[in-house]
């Protein structure tokens, strides 16, 4: 591993790896390598904190008990906050997203403090668990970064309310997302991105991966053509438009 390798920190894969979100780290590293940029995935597991050298952190979805245990890990929370202050990028999905916020609900609805890195709160007040394909139109930041419509699969019982002025990652066109009145999904705060999209989200939305990587590499990335990813996006968006129950389709 050269000195210049980009380090992708996979945070608590054994606790936050229930829904395949570890794939996001694979996608980030591989999209760099295919452009000739050295990259490594660094699992941050057990009681380890986020090392100073990490360029981008990835957190995934997990189960309630795991999430509650994680939130009590103050050393991890502090090291994540320091990474964000240093300018590291963060992609946090589902439970990983909830735990970055101020507070979140566990199982029966009891509230636990989160890491407080982003301004949102998650309660248990979704009318029912959100399970299924989700499609969201990106908000201004990601739209400006050239990210097209987002496709994913959601599976969560939490409702997330964003603090005043916080920008959502996207506006939900099919599915539930944060479950608020604005039909938002996730959030964007500087280089931190939260979302409810599994799939994994970066496997289905390579432009989002590249938007995160550009912030880390500090340069424009050459285009990377992967026709199989285009095919997957087209297939998922077509399936979602069929499921939307009305004639609507999303541009790829």
């Amino acid at each position: 591993m050269g000195e210049s390798a980009v380090l992708v920190g996979l945070v608590r894969p054994s606790l936050l790896g229930t829904y395949g979100d570890g794939g996001n780290a694979i996608v980030l590293a591989e999209r760099l390598r295919r452009r000739g940029i050295d990259a490594e995935v660094v699992p941050i597991d057990g009681n380890a904190t986020v090392p100073e050298s990490i360029d981008i952190c990835v957190l995934g979805g997990g189960e309630d008990t795991a999430q509650a245990g994680l939130a009590g890990d103050e050393a991890l929370g502090r090291s994540l906050a320091r990474a964000v202050d240093r300018g590291a990028a963060v992609l946090a999905v589902c439970a990983g997203f909830q735990v970055l916020g101020r507070e979140f609900a566990v199982g029966s609805g009891e509230m636990r403090p989160g890491f407080g890195i982003v301004d949102c709160t998650t309660d248990a007040r979704l009318p029912r668990r959100a399970v299924g394909e989700i499609v969201a139109r990106p908000g201004p930041t990601m739209a400006a970064a050239g990210v097209p419509v987002l496709t994913g699969f959601e599976n969560h019982g939490g409702r997330t309310l964003l603090g005043p002025g916080v920008e959502p990652l996207g506006v939900v066109e099919l599915g539930v997302g944060n479950g608020d009145e604005q039909r938002s999904d996730g959030l964007v705060a500087g280089r931190v991105v939260g979302t409810y999209l599994h799939g994994p989200v970066l496997a289905r939305n390579p432009a989002l991966a590249d938007a995160l990587l550009r912030g880390v590499v500090g340069a424009d990335l050459p285009p990377l053509e992967l026709p199989e990813v285009d095919r997957l996006r087209a297939e998922r968006l077509a399936a979602a438009s069929g499921r939307a129950g009305r004639r609507r389709s999303w541009p790829r």
Partner: protein, 410 residues
């Protein structure tokens, strides 16, 4: 009276379904009977001695192994076609009138119903890991369902895998239990304690011991030891497991089935001997001819834990090529994100054809894993595209059924 009428209607529906060529007819008959009389299962189960087998992986195979072991002592009713919901249980019992002993495979989420209505003598808990999370949501939720159901049935004898922390957490203290060291190599669903959320400590030296640092959950002292190179030790006697079925996972399953057979009153030696005769179960592990002299071995792989065992088999396979197939129907789980938990990177030096209704998801996964592949969603085209004369096929549930039909009818 009502139960009898319901069963008669179920019989008519089964015959109709078979006559119309809509399948084996068992499930539809059970469905009609259960709709007409929800207590029909209780009536059918009354007076029988029933063993239930559940878990994420190995249910169908273990049930077949258990049925073979129990048959050394007389006829056995069993849902051999893998119909593991209430309708399948009704159909299996209805189809074997007067047969006192039954070995039934049970879906993980249906276990509470089956315990309440079928009043089993023995319940076998194999393993519990991520599968169909769109339906089951969380692994721990299923464990809690099992625990509550078993707590309400203290007379049931439990045969449980001591090597899976999620299974151990699902056994209430009130249960009479035989702990079997049956192995669980997939650990990513057992890293946090199902009871308290602490990070479970596994033996760093690669041994089987594990314990939670935050509460008293730990690996129970096994009553039955299974070692892959020695066999299974029941009541002080070692029995070799020389199975026709491949893989360490199936030898672990055979150990569980042998212990369950003993709990049902069959001596260990004939039980183990009978297990060796089981060659394929609902076409799992069967070898079928295809096209011009190709031979296709059929493997079921429907979640990361199952794939880990299949990759273990493939590592020593001398097959010329692999076909891997993925669907995401209701019975498979509609979210196939779990393929990113499977270390497909291990197939880098192999030739892979990806198939199934979600072949596009597999293609992206294999691309990022650096695996050379061909993309052929349709089963027949995928088999044609697989080079060489011997092919290993690994498919998840409904994809497996599609390949089964194609390989049966050419």
């Amino acid at each position: 009276m009502r139960a009898r009428a319901a069963l008669a209607a179920g019989r008519v529906a089964s015959r109709l379904s078979r006559a119309l060529g809509r399948g084996e007819g068992a499930v539809i008959g059970g469905k009609v009977a259960l709709t007409l009389d929800p207590s029909v299962a209780d009536h059918l189960a009354a007076g029988r001695r029933i063993a239930l087998v559940t878990g994420t992986n190995g249910k169908t195979t273990t049930t077949a192994l258990l049925a073979a072991a129990l048959r050394t002592d007389g006829p056995v009713a069993s849902n051999t076609s893998g119909a593991n919901l209430a309708t399948g249980h009704v159909a299996a019992l209805f189809g074997s009138p007067g047969v006192e002993t039954a070995a039934l495979e049970v879906d993980e989420a249906v276990l509470p119903w089956a315990i309440a209505h079928l009043l089993p003598v023995v319940v076998v808990l194999l393993n519990l890991s991520r599968d169909q999370l769109d339906r089951l949501h969380e692994v721990r939720r299923t464990a809690a369902l099992w625990r509550d159901a078993l707590a309400g049935a203290p007379g049931v004898h439990v045969v449980a895998n001591a090597d899976d922390p999620v299974v151990v957490a699902a056994v209430p203290p009130s249960a009479g239990v035989t702990w079997v060291a049956a192995g669980q190599w997939w650990r990513l669903d057992a890293t946090s304690c199902p009871r308290c959320g602490s990070v479970i400590g596994f033996d760093a030296a690669g041994g089987k011991a594990w314990a939670c640092p935050g509460c008293d959950l730990k690996r129970p002292e096994p009553d039955v030891v299974w070692e892959d190179d020695q066999g299974v030790c029941i009541d002080g006697g070692w029995h070799r497991l020389d199975l026709s079925l491949p893989g360490r996972f199936n030898r672990g399953n055979a150990a569980m089935a042998a212990v369950a057979a003993v709990a049902m009153g069959v001596p260990a030696a004939p039980a183990v001997a009978a297990e060796t005769s089981v060659g394929s179960v609902a076409d799992r592990y069967v070898v079928r001819p295809w096209g011009d002299g190709k031979e296709v071995r059929m493997l079921l792989a429907k979640n990361p834990a199952g794939w880990l065992e299949v990759l273990e088999l493939l590592a020593t396979s001398d097959a010329d090529s692999f076909v891997i197939a993925l669907n995401a129907r209701g019975e498979d789980g509609t979210d196939p994100s779990w393929i990113w938990d499977v270390p497909f990177e291990r197939l880098r030096d192999r030739y892979v054809v990806c198939a199934g209704e979600r072949a596009a998801d597999l293609a992206v996964r294999l691309t990022y894993a650096g695996v050379q592949y061909a993309y052929e969603p349709a089963p027949a085209a995928a088999l044609d595209a697989a080079p060489g004369s011997s092919v290993d096929l690994a498919a998840n549930y409904s994809a497996f059924q599609q390949f089964r039909r194609v390989l049966r009818h050419g």
